[in-house]
Point group: C2
Chain length 394, copies 2
């Protein structure tokens, strides 16, 4: 399972000691042979030191593996933080016997705090010693912070009679250690034993990124550490460079992991799927869907089972740059029409009943000014989210 599902991939997860709970907090994974890589990183202007170190290595297109730390994010730590990240990758590379520039480093956890080298460095060596083709599960566990459970997925396709496997692991945010405050960073690591150039991998990522990981939200806060990496080592003996089945399988796996991150979001009790259709441009549909899905008032209403058409209208209207005819909007909540042509239908009671009967509430908005659509997935906002994120004290 996880990143070791494809051939030629090894992984390990160990407890370095950066989590007060003592849980696994350091993952390492490695390809037994040279591999291509493509990646996507946060657009936050403040980026973690591991991203500063890894980004140019990913851009070079070839990497053998990655060391991931999940107790402290190593962000906003100044020049010393960069040195810490370089050193972590160097020690991992040395322990794995690969070139320093082919080892990536990634981290999640508390930001604004330095990572203790004396704790992490022996753990990296331990992890390297424990690398195995069965280590994907432990690695998937070791990258978690406040997540309730590991998130992994695999796909297998047939390419010219050869079986190609894709494996992945992700972390989002949950409530696994309620006295720790850990930033809701998204980390996703995907591996395959198909063969592909870095450029092909980058195209596959780019094709699916916006509709999957870029269309989810737990709390509207863009992390400083978000990272998606896709590695291909060719161990299956077949190239998947321009194979549409490969691209589709990666996209499908990305969607599964994105949804798993929202489901495991801090304090989430219900999934919220906001679908905007009939927009003049795709960017408009996307912006409006995001606005509705991240609105505090809409998310509170979903928690309360309230099909509040007024709050949905408010959020749509707040969308910057949207071409809108307020008198044309149709809205369904949990499948029940609550607004037609911009006015209430009077069916709030039916919609409220439908909302309470499901743990995946849909809001479907038809703008009637074009044909572009977008779906954005978030969750309800609960008192548990607030309590959890207020409880951590330094």
């Amino acid at each position: 399972v996880s990143v070791t599902a494809p051939n030629g991939w090894l992984a390990a997860g160990v407890a370095a000691g950066t989590k007060p709970s003592g849980a696994l907090d350091l993952a390492l994974f490695l390809s037994e042979r040279p591999a291509s890589v493509a990646g996507a990183f946060t657009t936050n202007l403040v980026v973690g030191a591991p991203i500063v170190v890894s980004k140019p290595r990913v851009a070079a297109g070839h990497a053998r593996g990655c060391v991931v730390s999940a107790g402290i994010a190593n962000v906003a730590t100044g020049e010393a933080g960069i040195e810490d990240a370089v050193e972590m990758a160097r020690i991992a590379a040395e322990a794995c016997g690969v070139a320093e520039e082919e080892m990536l480093v990634s981290a999640t956890g508390i930001i604004g705090r330095r990572i203790p080298r004396e704790v992490v460095e022996p753990a990296i060596k331990d992890a390297a010693a424990q690398l195995s083709s069965a280590g994907g599960s432990l690695a998937a566990e070791a990258i978690l912070t406040t997540d309730a459970r590991p998130k992994t997925a695999t796909r297998a396709i047939d390419v010219e009679g050869v079986r190609v496997t894709i494996g992945g692991m992700a972390k989002g945010a949950g409530m696994i250690a309620p006295r720790m405050e850990l930033h809701a960073t998204m980390l996703v690591f995907l591996t395959t034993d198909g063969g592909a150039s870095p450029e092909a991998l980058q195209r596959v990522l780019a094709d699916h990124l916006d509709r999957t990981f870029n269309s989810i939200s737990v709390d509207g806060c863009t992390s400083t550490s978000d990272t998606v990496l896709l590695f291909a080592n060719g161990a299956a003996g077949v190239d998947v460079d321009d194979d549409p089945a490969f691209a589709a399988a990666v996209g499908d796996l990305m969607e599964e992991l994105a949804l798993a991150i929202v489901r495991d979001g801090e304090g989430a009790s219900k999934i919220l799927r906001v679908r905007v259709s009939g927009a003049q441009e795709e960017a408009h549909a996307r912006a409006a869907a995001r606005e509705v899905a991240t609105s505090l008032l809409v998310r509170c209403a979903v928690a309360g089972g309230d099909p509040n058409w007024g709050r949905i209208a408010q959020a749509i209207g707040q969308t910057s740059g949207l071409v809108l005819d307020p008198a044309a909007i149709d809205v369904r909540v949990a499948g029940v029409p609550v607004a037609s042509r911009g006015a209430p239908t009077g069916r709030e009671a039916d919609a409220a009943a439908a909302m309470r009967a499901t743990d995946e509430v849909s809001i479907e908005i038809e703008l009637h000014v074009g044909s572009a659509t977008w779906e954005f997935v978030s969750s309800d906002l609960t008192p548990e989210y607030v309590t959890f994120n207020a409880e951590y004290t330094t």
Copy 2:
């Protein structure tokens, strides 16, 4: 007090019956003589019917008064809602004996629901019969929705030996009727007995709007009904058109009311003042201050007394278009330096103690890339906010 503090202004507040609690829900105020007016309205693309009706009347520059309903906002109600708003203003004008186009209409409350004419229209007539120069307090009470308390302010200045008075009332959002869900609309009504042209009033509003009402947030949701109106009837017998003392007094009063709205925000337990300095442009400082002040994670941290520099860095970095050197940022929380040159100072414990000792937490961010500054005021995010906004069910 309130809008009847200046000479020549009358007001009333009555209970029409649009609030389940039976509280006052309809305010009317009127100048005894012709008056100039200027106003500012929401930028939400979905606007309330009262704004559709009032906006062109305000643009004409002359109005005698306004009828304000606070149970139902009359937004997202289609063409019928516009007719309801026109009719409310017509009845108010008739009852007051003024021209229809000089009576404004405003509303706040539940959106997506029609206002019941049969309930509101007799109440308008009652209010007109009760207009008095002592009615400002009742009017200030009648415009509230979930507010905990009325928000009024007055200023008096001396212009060429003549006393000129400015009065104002505002509503924000509070917890006055916990089973009602009412949209956090901001309504502000300012009156003066100074004489001024509509253009002069508009200039005064424009000069102060961005630094006061446009720099506060309770929940980041821009209402469909936000309205600020400034009336001048000249009853004091002196013109204040280009009087800097008048402009300063209005600005000061706007600041007081803006802060009062945040203090009375739904579920707020602490004020959060975010000051960004050293930005390259004013728009950058403003955007960054807004981003930090409205971040869910920062607001939860303030509720928990946690001087979380990492969450502040994340929010700064999320600011669209910001020119930023992450290694240059200095941050103080409640007066205590928590980050210097982009790295933690290790003084979290001192900052946490300082946060807990105050009910007005400051976050001061120095970017060191320019000299522009902005301050944005919000509040902490508490479980009470979420519970309150989830509890309303149709």
